[in-house]
């Protein structure tokens, strides 16, 4: 029987040499005359172990990692094909604690299947949600998504079902589904992983969304920084179209839905939904004032569903297993699971999908295993460049939209960046302002001018120039930006700045300058 060896094609694995490992494995297989095929899967999300090579054995998949090309010969010598023991052997993949503790709903197939095999996708439960949806009335699909409690995973947390209902009820002969895959937040990579590791789940989610709202065309707007995700998504769309999952008659239902991938051009602000719509239309990625809501007047002024990748990729399982199944996970108003991305200076980095409600400290200390540098954790930034910096004192915060908001933070797209005690929080606050200045679309004054002034004020504090006055000025500026900006870029940049000032005041009191002798 042919043995399968899995070597990820996820960008993180590639960046750590997965292609070199695959090449060395191919050569070794040929030289040794082994009956082995190599499958290029997505990533399991255990990124500190990438490239993570797996072998299918009669007892299940056995993992090895991190594998380098130079390890390949010794792996085969140790009987890799039969799951043999080796210094890099991690045992059965499913038993690795980081994976075993997860609840994988959205990412159930990611890293397990060949991302471009529709047969693999079907045999692992794929397309069942869409099958159910095409037999249903659109209103019933929308109701099921609403009842599941699914909220926008892009960060705003708006109930997905309500958004869909607005589009379903909007008048219009042409409607669109737009997938926001402009994942620009540092510390996040869940969208990239699903597009590279299980693209059909996103296609299925978008097709369900189209059938539920009467939209016949979908766009995935992603980033030029994600060439692998773009290529995999585009190929998966072609496969889905050839198989009749997309096209004039979705799975033979007589209802049409098709889609394409579009690439941004390095503008962070295009992750903001209205800027994204302008960019898709071929305009400058400038934020639009709301109302009108995109659900009423979105892409080309047509009713448009605009959802994050993870929101859409969570829909198939809701349509397959039911609203109750999904809603039973989570806490409070945060229902279901959330793929937490653990990044930065952390020992066990990667993607951890779990029900809402886990304490932040549990994620950092136990799942993440503390810092990679071995030094104490100083701060964690949750929610990307617009998310607050939390000190250890707030590590009891449960991972939940409302709990984070109550502590002046946000979970955003659920990325966590860990910093050790060498971090300078004044520098981080300055960077938040600098990033906003670089990426501001320029439409509203608080964001466009405020961010530049913010950098200057932070520099004055660092230089010891009237620090008390300038700290006050920085707080005041943050207040203006928070309440006066048109979108989250200017409006949320104050989160990292203010949280850094509040929780790490010592970093904002640099040593006084030595007076120069006259």
């Amino acid at each position: 029987m042919t043995t399968k060896i899995y070597i990820p094609r996820d960008a993180a694995a590639l960046a750590l040499g997965a292609d070199k490992v695959a090449k060395a494995m191919e050569e070794a297989i040929a030289a040794r005359g082994l009956d082995v095929t190599i499958v290029r899967n997505g990533s399991r999300g255990l990124h500190w172990l990438e490239p993570l090579v797996e072998v299918e054995t009669s007892e299940g998949r056995v993992a090895y990692g991190p594998v380098k090309a130079r390890d390949v010969a010794s792996l085969f010598d140790a009987g890799l094909v039969a799951g043999g023991d080796h210094a890099l052997c991690l045992g059965k993949t499913e038993d690795i604690p980081f994976l075993k503790q997860q609840t994988r709903l959205t990412f159930a197939r990611c890293g397990v299947i060949d991302p471009l095999s529709l047969d693999d996708y079907r045999s692992h439960g794929g397309l069942r949600g869409l099958q159910n949806a095409i037999a249903m009335d659109p209103m019933a699909i929308v109701a099921q998504v609403t009842e599941s409690g699914l909220r926008g995973r892009g960060g705003a947390g708006f109930p997905t079902g309500i958004k869909w209902k607005t589009v379903l009820e909007a008048a219009g002969t042409r409607k669109y589904i737009v997938c926001n895959a402009d994942e620009g937040d540092s510390g996040t990579f869940a969208d990239r992983m699903i597009m590279e590791g299980d693209p059909f789940v996103l296609i299925e989610g978008m097709a369900i969304s189209g059938i539920a709202t009467g939209a016949t065309k979908g766009f995935i707007y992603t980033r030029s920084e994600y060439p692998h995700a773009i290529a995999t998504m585009a190929e998966a769309i072609n496969i889905a179209r050839a198989a009749g999952v997309l096209g004039q008659s979705v799975l033979g239902s007589g209802r049409a839905f098709d889609m394409e991938v579009r690439t941004g051009a390095g503008a962070y602000v295009c992750g903001e939904e209205t800027a994204l719509l302008n960019s898709l239309e071929g305009k400058r990625g400038i934020v639009r004032a709301k109302p009108p809501l995109p659900a009423h007047k979105g892409l080309f002024d047509c009713p448009t569903v605009i959802n994050n990748v993870i929101s859409l990729a969570s829909v198939p399982i809701i349509m397959d297993k039911g609203a109750d199944f999904y809603r039973d996970f989570g806490m409070g108003r945060s229902r279901g699971t959330i793929p937490i991305q653990i990044a930065g200076n952390v020992k066990h980095s990667g993607l951890f999908e779990t029900a809402f409600g886990l304490a932040l400290g549990e994620i950092i200390d136990h799942i993440g295993g503390g810092t990679a540098s071995g030094r104490p954790v100083k701060a964690v930034q949750v929610g990307g460049p617009l998310g607050a910096y939390f000190p250890r004192a707030l590590f009891d915060t449960p991972f939940d939209y409302e709990a984070f908001a109550a502590r002046d933070g946000l979970i955003g797209h659920a990325g966590i960046v860990v910093f050790d005690d060498t971090a300078d929080m004044l520098k981080q606050a300055r960077f938040a302002m600098e990033f906003c200045a670089i990426e501001s679309c320029g439409k509203c004054t608080p964001c466009r001018i405020g961010s530049t002034r913010g950098v200057e004020v932070a520099d004055k504090i660092a230089a010891g120039i009237e620090p008390e006055k300038n700290r006050e000025l920085l707080s005041d500026l943050c207040n203006t930006m928070k309440f006066g900006s048109l979108c989250a870029l200017g409006g949320f940049t104050p989160y990292p700045v203010v949280s850094a000032m509040t929780h790490f005041p010592d970093d904002f009191k640099p040593a006084p300058l030595v007076e120069a002798a006259e």
């Binding site: 960008a11 993180a12 590639l14 960046a15 750590l16 500190w48 990438e50 994942e183 620009g184 937040d185 540092s186 510390g187 996040t188 990579f189 969208d191 990239r192 980033r223 920084e225 994600y226 060439p227 692998h228 579009r262 690439t263 941004g264 051009a265 390095g266 503008a267 962070y268 960019s279 898709l280 239309e281 071929g282 305009k283 400058r284 990625g285 400038i286 080309f300 991305q341 653990i342 990044a343 930065g344 200076n345 952390v346 980095s349 990667g350 993607l351 990679a372 930034q381 460049p385 960046v417 860990v418 910093f419 050790d420 971090a423 981080q428 960077f431 990033f435 670089i438 990426e439 679309c441």
Partner: protein, 159 residues
Amino acid sequence: MNIHQPRADVTARTLAIVEELKGLEGPLLPILHGIQHEFGYVPQDCLPVIARELNLSRAEVYGVFSFYHDFREHPAGRHVLKLCRAEACQSMGGDQLAERAKRLLGIDFHETTPDGAVTLEPVYCLGLCSCAPSAMFDGEVHARVDAGDLEALVAEARR
């Protein structure tokens, strides 16, 4: 990449790209990407051609071109090294790595070495935040980049 393109050639190649893509809904970004892919940058001679074909003003096309960080007005070096400057990479020594790259190449961000070998660019997140710091060299991704890796990349670019 550095060869000057005669104007007529630019126009013909631009027209071919526009012709292929103008049927898309919202074709301007795909066209600009196509132009940059074709020429390595966006020659300013292209812009009036695009404007005419899409029935837009030249100002509108220039406005879109200049809004996005990706589109270059001038050719890049033979190799492009992008270093991630965002928070996750900062937490793993990204700033020191960037300083090292600047010193090794003798240039700042957005500059090209005098021999035309390398252009150094910042990038804000490659989605490799779990294995920081990261870089992209001629479209290929690299993670957990240390001083040695950086030197190897620079040496490769200089060859």
